[in-house]
Symmetry: C2
Subunit: 336 residues, 2 copies
């Protein structure tokens, strides 16, 4: 089942979307919003699945689905925590600044509490006051959970994953060093994120979804050119079950909690840092990683961060080449 | 106007509470939940204020108000960011571990993104798996905002404060060092917070509310004994307008965002670290601060963190000695 929230009020209008993302039908006979569905999932999910089946059969009224009419599936959420499950990425960050990564990072996930109150729509511009912030995309996978009890174990947590999405976790690289040095984590350096038009139940992903990982390439473009195509199921040190369990160690997580994977990042075939797509590599899911690799290889970064007028696109395709979640496509613009 | 959310479903049932906290009337004719009121404040606030006036006059049906029936005013919120506005507290933290505090901390607020999805009710026990976490209270003031535009200035931000509350920002001291060393801020070390039974409009506070600060003593008890009574308006380096502006530098804040002051903390009359209440001082709003002062004065901390069976109480009284927000009163219990 694929779900989307059309732009409407603060929480959007929930629709069920056909598998090929061409048509949609209103979820209103069951529930008005995605948060409403997550709040009462056991009652709503089977009814929404029935509607999804009827939509595929053409046996309910439907309308053309346009990705650009979408808000993020949860336009505002009660929680957004983002892991850093691709430890390869973290190791590169450290390497680029000449620091050792603690061995514990391979067993104890990094995760930050993000702002969840004001997500951008998947086609909404990223508006910021200054290019000097060092604007970067971060292409990631994210899951939406049901109610998660405190102290949940990873295996049980995997069963509490309701939906899967893509996310652009916009990051302001030049604000990060000062903010992290203060010791309290990210705040100003993480502006509003944007999620894919569709949120998809794990069963919809077929065999690509396994053991809390999504085994498909995550496609990122910058200014219309291929930028990255790392395999989201590869080099993911912590699966989503482990990430959810980490978040829930000392508190329950309410239904509708969004848990991110962190920037998807693959090692190169030779085990070293990944190469750019143009050089036959899998590329990157954020510019910072490309700059780190440039620093490691050539002594200094050369790829600039995003400037006003630049655009990013994040998407994932199934084995047959069809878009699964629709595309996040955002322009970077000045905030007046 | 005083508002509270009686325990009911996921978002509570909004009631208007009399100034003396003895009686309440349903807000349902206007709006069902506090988040609903905040989403549509311009329409709801005058109508709720009318109901509040009728309640004082006895001209609407009302019922006895019991604080122990309350959830937190927003049982789940879209955002909770917590500042560290009492820089005195931060300086003591550093001093106790022999570190210098950067001079910039006096001008650039510390603030962390907290979990907002699962707040405890004001009388709900703090349940945790282990006493070894180093369980501590943090008594603070918090405000609830309306919609805040990105890049707001402090003065405008002060005008966007809709409600004021108290908060117990429960902290797990022994998990903090490892978590902060990882660099991504608090996550497991900050379990669910609890807020006061009533949330109060700034005008209800009279002259005690001035320039984004609340000029009254914040009363904290541990196991029924006075633990702290610091003046919340004193030594608050950053008022709530500055804190809101800090949070909104690179993104808008959605209505219902909760912004905390951080642990209230006063210097002693002689300018040095505060003394315990038992020694004639103003005491502390968290045990960690008492332990820091013990470390600075005697070389080692002696006051233990909270243990199962311990209780904390946080309250604030007006000039006439009446409770303004009702009391947060929580027992610490093992989580099964």
């Amino acid at each position: 089942m694929k779900l989307a929230s059309l732009m409407h009020g603060r929480d959007g209008r929930l629709v069920i979307v056909s598998g090929d993302l061409t048509r949609a039908t209103d979820a209103f006979p069951v529930v008005a919003t995605l948060q409403g569905a997550l709040d009462d999932w056991d009652r709503c999910a089977p009814r929404l699945a029935d509607l999804a089946e009827s939509l595929e059969h053409g046996s309910v009224p439907s309308f053309r689905f346009h990705e650009h009419d979408c808000a993020s599936p949860l336009p505002r959420a009660y929680q957004w925590v983002d892991g850093s499950a691709y430890v390869n990425h973290v190791e590169l960050v450290r390497k680029a600044r000449g620091a050792e990564m603690p061995e514990s990072f391979w067993t104890d996930p990094l995760m930050y509490q993000g702002g969840s109150d004001s997500f951008l729509g998947p086609r909404e511009a990223v508006k910021l006051a200054s290019e000097d912030y060092g604007i970067d995309l971060e292409a990631e996978i994210a899951v939406v959970t049901g109610d998660v009890p405190m102290g949940v174990m990873p295996e049980e947590a995997r069963g509490l994953i309701r939906l899967v999405m893509l996310v652009n976790d916009v990051s302001l690289r030049n604000l990060i060093p000062n903010e992290l040095a203060k010791g309290f984590g990210f705040l100003q350096s993480k502006p509003s994120s944007a999620f894919s038009p569709a949120a998809v139940t794990p069963d919809e992903l077929g065999p690509a979804w396994k053991d809390g990982k999504l085994n498909l390439p995550l496609l990122a473009q910058v200014n219309g050119k291929p930028f990255g195509k790392p395999q989201a199921g590869v080099d993911m040190t912590f699966d989503f079950g482990v990430l959810i369990a980490h978040a829930a160690k000392t508190r329950p997580l309410v239904a509708g909690t969004i848990v991110g994977s962190g920037t998807v990042s693959n090692r190169d075939a030779d085990g070293g840092p990944g190469r750019p797509v143009a050089e036959g590599g899998l590329g990157y899911a954020c510019i910072a990683e490309q700059r780190m690799v440039e620093t490691i290889r050539h002594g200094a970064p050369k790829t600039p961060f995003l400037r006003f007028g630049d655009s990013v696109r994040i998407e994932m395709k199934d084995a047959a080449g069809h878009s699964i979640f629709g595309a996040i496509e955002q322009e970077i613009l000045p905030y007046a």
